[in-house]
């Protein structure tokens, strides 16, 4: 059955998906408009390629990881203009599927897959990033509604999102992990303000989002009240697996294919050191791809990746760092000053590499997860796990 699927996928992609023309994606968003992306996602859905492993009753195809692997492999050479849906489907989507109510699954999942609604994830705050459990955004019950106040940061895609999955504190008298809840929030509700954040590359891939007395209905709760940390752990697990198994496109500006061609064009392939670095980049990139395939195969065989998604995520950001170094070796002083689009794309990607070791869970956090949940090592000594939240210090403190 997987072979029929693969044949179908290949044919559909060839007929409907644009091939990648030049590398430019460092999180700035595809050059296509949101309207274009929604149209493409709708087409993808109608053709039966959206939500491959999601149940049919929620708009999915009810297929297996075998088909998911096949799709990932077949789509590598294409620039699918649906990046706006990646976060929603892989994170809040999978989380609602896992722990949401039946009504939530029916209301939100099909529209995610059809490209009608775009989602964002509202976790990090200025005072709570790696230590997100120290978040201060509050949700206070008022009759049939909750009232949300606070600020979120690093929110990718908030500027065009319809809904968000937000973590808010519902009980500040309990220790930090025990007083958090997760809600669905309408990003167009009164009181929601989105402001773009500019990063080192000059682009604005994410935003600050302010909540000023924003009201959400009681049934917006995902999972149980004060059990939002458990829901967050589910979502973060999906995030690491998604990022870690995303795979690189062949036209990735820091990928082996691109850098080898660039090196040849610059006459650098006669340098023995450059040849070795490129060969090593090939080897490291290949291994990361193969590990992603292995994780999917194991999932298919019933062994869920779990915390090993963090291994994939860490491997990806370490590969990015290595690739950046190889690119710098290839470019030499052309990195310092240049005037072509090709070199702009590569140098922008080099400038962007530190971001991948921080976004989606820092490499330090990934190593903690790997150490504790894969290798069974003891948790870091903690001083704030059992203290009521309203007695804790949070974020950046002033020095007097």
């Amino acid at each position: 059955m997987s072979d029929d699927f693969r044949t179908r996928a290949r044919a559909w992609l060839a007929a409907n998906a644009p091939r990648r023309s030049s590398g430019d994606d460092d999180g700035a968003g595809s050059p296509t408009t949101i309207a274009d992306q929604k149209a493409f996602q709708a087409k993808l859905y109608d053709a039966g390629f959206a939500g491959l492993t999601w149940p049919k009753e929620y708009g999915g195809q009810g297929l297996t990881n075998a088909e998911q692997i096949a799709w990932s492999q077949e789509s590598r050479d294409f620039d699918l203009p649906n990046g706006a849906f990646f976060i929603g489907i892989s994170m809040p989507g999978n989380t609602i599927l896992e722990i949401g109510s039946e009504a939530q699954k029916k209301r939100y999942l099909p529209r995610m897959l059809r490209g009608e609604e775009i989602w964002c994830q509202l976790f990090s705050e200025p005072g709570a990033g790696s230590g997100v459990a120290s978040l201060q955004t509050s949700a206070v019950r008022d009759g049939d509604e909750w009232v949300i106040n606070g600020q979120k940061v690093w929110t990718s895609g908030a500027q065009f999102s319809d809904y968000g999955a937000i973590l808010a504190r519902t009980d500040p008298t309990k220790p930090k992990h025990n007083g958090i809840s997760m809600f669905i929030v309408d990003m167009h509700a009164p009181g929601v303000t989105v402001r773009p954040l500019k990063v080192a590359t000059g682009h604005s891939p994410f935003n600050e989002v302010f909540f000023d007395n924003v009201r959400v209905p009681a049934d917006a709760l995902i999972g149980e009240e004060n059990k939002g940390w458990d829901a967050a752990v589910v979502m973060l697990r999906h995030e690491r697996i998604a990022i870690g198994t995303m795979g690189g496109s062949r036209t990735n500006p820091l990928g082996y294919d691109t850098l080898r061609d660039l090196a040849a064009g610059l006459g650098r392939t006669s340098d023995a050191g450059v040849r070795r670095s490129l060969a090593e980049l090939y080897a490291r990139g290949r291994a990361a791809q193969l590990f992603a395939v292995l994780l999917r195969e194991e999932a298919q065989a019933g062994r869920m990746p779990g915390a090993r998604g963090s291994v994939a995520k860490l491997a990806g950001s370490e590969l990015g760092r290595f690739a950046g170094n190889v690119a710098a070796e290839v470019l030499g002083d052309q990195l310092a000053g240049f005037d072509t689009d090709e070199l702009l794309a590569v140098t922008t990607a080099i400038v962007a590499t530190p971001g991948s070791a921080i976004a989606g869970g820092t490499s330090e956090i990934q190593r903690n997860i790997i150490g504790e949940r894969v290798l069974g090592l003891a948790k870091d000594p903690g001083v704030d796990r059992s203290t009521p939240f309203n007695q804790l210090r949070v974020g950046t403190q002033r020095q007097n």
């Binding site: 080897a283 395939v293 194991e298 903690n368 069974g376 000594p381």
Partner: protein
């Protein structure tokens, strides 16, 4: 075909693992160190006669099992984890060269006995710095002169395959262990689980083997890469398990030491490197059986990654055990030396990267 192990491969892995635990645990290696023997003959007999390990990659028509490269990789991974000393690697490389050449008589005479473990054979190759051999004469009067060092089980082999430069180019020759002018001197091996020798030939009679020597030697290099990567993957996993295990029970500053990020993060990196190397080994093993056109690149990828990753892991293993990790009595140094040696045997990382760059057309 999928990367993950089939049920059959899983069963093979378990039977080899059990064999290692029952018949050749790490204490066996210590006995060999004390006795000075290159390997335990009884263990070798069981590995070959009972488990058929030397015949896994030899086709049935030549007395082997014909199980293929993936099965061989699975077995080597378990043997590597246990640092089992044996002439297996030497034998399979020699067998591979014979299989790729065209001397049917030699194949029929030698392969069944190599596959059965009765004949120890080795391929006399080393790095450029390890020497070279020239051939003179022709027909029945060919003799070889030169040195190759280090050679896997060079002193134990009854038959040696020796690449040498003839007027026509590289030719692989068959040399009998008792041939005139042949001296094998066992070397001090940094890795206690490897027996290595300097092989010196002084007008030693040799029989040329017909066929494409270059292709045969390239195939042996690719198999060596898969084999060493497989052994290293198994050994690296053993180090990871041993070190994480220690970090869970050793207490300092009121916590198991794994609680501290300096320890935790180093182990997390070891886990990550092992996972990536293991995926590469699985892919190379599969390519060896199902996609031979890309086997060389895949095996190079696995070898390049594991040569460095394992060599680093063994240093981290000593370090994360603290003082005891550096003692003779602890097993860490056994792996440390295996890591040093595996990295440089039959082409170190630089050589492998150059070769991979050539294969990729860079």
């Amino acid at each position: 075909m999928a990367l993950i192990l089939t049920d059959e491969e899983q069963a093979l892995a378990e039977s080899v693992r059990k064999f290692v635990a029952d018949r050749s645990p790490l204490t066996s290696l210590r006995h060999l160190i004390a006795s000075g023997e290159p390997y335990d003959a009884d263990v070798w007999k069981q590995m070959t006669a009972q488990l058929g390990l030397a015949g896994l990659s030899v086709p049935e028509e030549y007395g082997g099992v014909g199980a293929g490269y993936s099965a061989l990789s699975v077995a080597l991974t378990e043997l590597g984890a246990g640092l089992v000393a044996s002439p297996l690697l030497a034998c399979i490389l020699a067998a591979e060269v014979l299989l790729r050449l065209d001397d049917e008589t030699a194949k029929l005479e030698l392969l069944p006995r190599i596959a059965g473990g009765e004949l120890i054979a080795t391929l006399a190759v080393a790095s450029h710095a390890g020497g070279h051999v020239t051939a003179s004469g022709s027909g029945a009067d060919v003799t070889l002169t030169g040195t190759v060092s280090p050679v896997l089980n060079g002193a134990e082999a009854s038959v040696l395959l020796v690449p040498a430069e003839a007027d026509s180019g590289t030719v692989v020759y068959l040399v009998d262990g008792a041939a005139a002018g042949l001296t094998r001197t066992r070397l001090t091996a940094v890795d206690h689980s490897r027996s290595l020798a300097r092989v010196t030939l002084a007008r030693t009679p040799a029989r040329p083997l017909a066929g494409d020597a270059g292709a045969a030697l390239a195939a042996a290099q690719d198999l060596a890469n898969l084999a060493l990567a497989s052994e290293s993957a198994g050994a690296m996993k053993a180090c990871l398990d041993m070190t994480a295990g220690y970090a869970r029970i050793r207490v300092a500053f009121g916590q198991p030491i794994g609680a501290f990020q300096a320890v935790k993060h180093r182990l997390a990196d070891m886990e990550k490197s092992w996972e990536l190397g293991n995926a590469a080994v699985r892919d190379a093993a599969r390519a060896g059986d199902a996609a031979p056109a890309r086997f060389s690149v895949a095996a190079s990828v696995a070898r390049v990654l594991l040569a460095t990753a394992y060599a680093e892991a063994v240093v981290d293993t000593v370090q994360l055990h603290g003082g005891i990790g550096f003692t003779w009595e602890h097993d860490a140094h056994l792996y440390y030396k295996n890591g040093l040696s595996n990295k440089v045997l039959l082409g170190g990382p630089s050589d492998q990267l150059d070769r991979l760059a050539d294969s990729l057309g860079i």
